[in-house]
């Protein structure tokens, strides 16, 4: 047997240097592995979001009031039903500070094709008042029993039953109104009392022999003072202006019944001017404006509706 050679000073130096190199290599490997893990994590998260977006393309905007415990049961039922239909998607819980337009724009960028508003009439108004012009399909899941008039108009049953309508995906394109090129309204606009000058479609002007008018513009909801025998026309590219002489106090008894009946005009473009700021209620939101320029955007809003819709 050959005796083992004792390491010389030269060889020991070589071993030491190779150990250092190995250490360096190991450190480099660990660093790169750590970096890779980070990228892997990042990719996984991105993919998860992306795949959810690609798969469902649905984003559900939950209104703030749904955080209340009384709605948890309903929301669970809704989420189960959506899962059954394989249309569940990303859930975004809005706070009172959420800007629905920015939120919707961001989700559209991420690939959302359908934005479902979950809440009540206020939710629908809150979102559409800012985001009606976005190129996306909107849906509405009415939750609770109160403040859900639009559900009836759109042919939607309440709570989890509305998921069936969302799944059926019957899309109608609706007109909506643009106020002063910044605000939208889908359902109605109401001016309780004002002395105004009105111009319709730049063709004719309206004036009153009496002092003040009460006015309403109807699209998806009838005016408060002429709701009987009302037929909705939210897809004809025109809106109806209803106006009648404003009566109040003791004098209201002396006003001719005929004068209490509203005048009705159809328009695509309307200009209302007042000397003083007038109170205007657009889909439940109050504005104060001296002049209103209203234009109808024909069939621009894609909305999922039910079979029993009222138009």
């Amino acid at each position: 047997m050959k005796a083992m050679k004792q390491p010389t000073a030269k060889t020991s130096n070589m071993i030491a240097s190779s150990n250092l190199q190995a250490k360096k290599e190991l450190q480099q490997f660990l660093k790169s592995a750590q970096a890779k893990r980070k990228t892997v994590e990042r990719v996984t998260i991105d993919d998860r979001v992306r795949s959810a977006g690609k798969k469902a393309e649905y984003v559900y905007l939950y209104d703030t009031f749904l955080q209340d415990k009384q709605y948890h049961g309903i929301l669970e039922s809704i989420e189960r039903r959506l899962h059954d239909f394989e249309i569940s998607g990303k859930i975004v819980r809005m706070t009172s500070f959420t800007n629905p337009r920015l939120l919707a724009e961001e989700e559209i960028k991420k690939g959302a094709k359908t934005i479902i508003m979950v809440g009540n009439d206020d939710t629908l108004v809150r979102v559409l008042l800012k985001a009606a012009d976005l190129d996306v399909t909107f849906g509405f899941l009415p939750v609770g029993l109160k403040k859900n008039h639009f559900a009836k108009v759109l042919g939607l049953p309440l709570n989890e039953k509305a998921c069936d309508v969302i799944a059926a995906r019957k899309i109608e394109k609706l007109d909506y109104g643009v106020i002063n090129q910044k605000n939208f309204f889908l359902c109605y606009l109401y001016i309780p009392e004002a002395r105004v000058k009105i111009s319709c479609d730049d063709n004719f002007a309206l004036s009153s022999s009496k002092d003040k008018w009460e006015m309403a513009i109807a699209n998806l909801l009838p005016p408060p003072f002429a709701s009987d025998k009302f037929v909705l026309h939210p897809q004809d590219g025109k809106m109806e202006l209803y106006l009648r002489t404003k009566t109040g106090g003791l004098f209201s008894h002396f006003v001719n019944k005929q004068e209490k009946k509203p005048s009705i005009f159809f328009f695509k473009k309307l200009s209302i001017k007042s000397e003083k700021a007038m109170s205007v209620v657009a889909d439940g939101r109050e504005l104060h404006e001296v002049s209103l320029n209203i234009e109808v955007n024909k069939a621009k809003l894609a909305l999922i509706v039910g079979k029993t819709r009222q138009f």
């Binding site: 063709n203 309206l206 009153s208 022999s209 026309h233 005929q258 009946k261 159809f266």
Partner: protein, 139 residues
């Protein structure tokens, strides 16, 4: 005729000018128009125009048919029928296929009535050949 017309147009969209409303300008509509207030300028509709008692129209009118119970100052061109009720007052020329004037109605103007047989003639017929000029004054 009146009931038939109203039935026919019952489901149509109606523009209503209420008693306290004044309209000035070119007033066009694709549906029926009911006037109870005042209109000056031009009125045009492809459907029925109703001018109710107490209403004042100072405009040229073009419509499918018209039922007048109020006052009109201006020329009227109707594709189908013009009916003047007992309270009607019309100051202007009228071109229509059918004209109905009730006792008591006031009509100052010329009436041109389309002849159904003439309408069916070939290309050679002149524009005015289809109308039978007539002058009517019923006070």
């Amino acid at each position: 005729m009146t009931d038939k017309h109203l039935e026919k147009s019952g489901e149509d969209i109606e523009t209503i000018v209420g008693p306290s409303v004044k309209v000035e300008g070119d007033f066009n509509s694709e549906g029926n128009i009911i006037i109870q207030g005042q209109v000056s300028g031009k009125i045009k509709t492809s459907k029925l125009l109703r001018v109710e008692e107490g209403a004042k129209v100072n405009a040229d009118v073009s419509a499918d048919s018209a039922i007048v119970a109020g006052e009109i100052r201006g020329n009227m061109k109707l594709s189908d029928t013009l009916e003047l009720t007992p309270t009607a007052r019309v100051y202007g020329d009228v071109a229509t296929k059918t004209l109905i004037i009730s006792a008591g109605a006031i009509f100052h103007g010329q009436s041109l009535m389309e002849d159904g047989e003439e309408k069916g003639r070939g290309k050679g017929s002149k524009k005015n050949e289809g109308y039978e000029a007539a002058y009517g004054e019923n006070v």
